[in-house]
Assembly symmetry: C2
């Protein structure tokens, strides 16, 4: 369900693994493109097309997942397994798990900056984290089936609870977008036009990297805030409190404390990224 | 004066342009290396070695510039031109301009992450901004002489007042370091070890870029805060105020305002960087 870059990439890989892949999109053009690009064996605008599938990947935008699932359920066999690819898990698991027992929340942490079926890539998930968030009542067979498919995509499988996933991605993905957007926003508040112009002329690799995700797709940033609001707020409150402390140190010329902090962040960063 | 990556790179380029370059470093090993690497024609640990130079580039760490200049002045002819390469200008210009008329503050905005004479590179300044901050009383001949040298390095020359330079670099270089370090710092405050571990495992390109300068050389970050304290504080106060507004919007689910902001930052970023 959904033949964008993630749905399309899943189709490509699963087909090359020998699975028969049936795609559904609301847009007939997308269906045609997906077939032409070899992302699916067949495609249709009609939901019931996927009813006979053993496993259905819900790859629509987050906002459409619940609605799509509600429309889909009357057409399914009871043992059909549903899994989604949404980048926030609790709001999805909360809605779908009570409606469909054989549902396993999922989040492949791979993506392209492009959208649509043309952006589909073979091997997109290889070596990337793929998080599964079953609940206590998710049947073991459903979990195992999804895990087996994900393993064949050569992704790195992680299991956690939906709220843990959401807080973790708030820290490393959603908070950075706000922190980065706010850097651009704050610079633009410079009251002297000459100084702002110099800042724009002098900006280089440091500003480029720190501002990159804040200058990205606004719809994605908004969606993160809407669907992961509580976890993002927790991040924003902590960020504010920590920044207050740094500001106090600079105000009070507590250089020892600032030096210790900068040494600590230098040492801690490799625990997150290479 | 100073044969690190900037002083050494200047020596390389100036020598290849046909100038005779005499280097001074407090460290005899550095002098030997600089000669061996072809960065200078001769080098010495003795300050008066440079006394006969027509133009002296002060390339020591910021903390040493004022002291070095005071030691140097008794050995100079009155028409010797001094210029520095410090990344903050007002504290340097404030001290040196009253002591030496033929002084032109400068900031080549190019650098390497490595330090020492081995990090010197030919063509390092080519196409990069090189800011000059003369005062109202700097003699035109001194400005013109430095400008001519910088032009031959193929740098892009900018003129502005020292405080304008300092506020501009606070926005695009020094504030990003604090914003980025504080992202790492805030994430580490996550109270649940499981969630912190997941965050570390899930962190990818977005976190990598946003946290890069905050995980960099702590001495450089500290130096920026110490020497550009007022301008950095102005940036931190504005950043805090803007972040407060974003937080309010997320709290109050004012999605329209957040969407407008993210669209604005997406549009504004290319005015700073490609």
């Amino acid at each position: 369900m959904g033949l964008g870059s993630i749905g399309g990439s899943l189709g490509l890989d699963l087909r090359s693994l020998g699975f028969r892949v049936v795609g559904v999109s609301r847009n007939p053009d997308t269906c045609q493109k997906a077939i032409a690009l070899g992302l699916v064996d067949e495609a249709s605008v009609s939901l019931p097309t996927v009813a006979s599938a053993q496993v259905i990947f819900l790859c629509t935008p987050i906002a459409a997942i619940a609605k799509t699932t509600l429309e889909l359920i009357p057409h399914l066999f009871p043992n059909t397994i549903l899994t989604d690819v949404g980048s926030v898990k609790e709001p999805i698991v909360e809605v779908i798990a009570p409606l469909w027992q054989n549902f396993v929340g999922g989040h492949p942490m791979a993506g392209t900056t492009q959208q649509g079926p043309e952006a589909a890539q073979a091997g997109l998930f290889q070596g990337k984290p793929y998080v599964l968030t079953p609940t206590d009542s998710t049947p073991a067979t459903a979990i195992k089936t999804v895990e087996e498919l994900v393993r064949q995509l050569q992704a790195q499988i992680y299991y956690c609870r939906a709220p843990e996933h959401d807080q973790a991605v708030a820290w490393i993905s959603h908070l950075p977008v706000m922190v980065s957007a706010n850097l651009i926003n704050a610079c633009l508040q410079e009251p002297e036009p000459t100084v702002l112009e110099l800042a724009q002329q002098f900006a280089s690799s440091g500003f480029r990297d720190t501002s990159r995700v804040g200058g990205g797709n606004p719809e994605l940033g908004l969606m993160m805030a809407q669907y992961n609001r509580q976890a993002l707020l927790k991040g924003l409150y902590q960020y504010r409190q920590s920044l207050e402390q740094i500001t106090d140190w600079v105000e009070g010329e507590n250089w020892q404390a600032l030096a210790d902090l900068l040494r600590m962040t230098q040492q801690a960063r490799p625990d997150f990224v290479d």
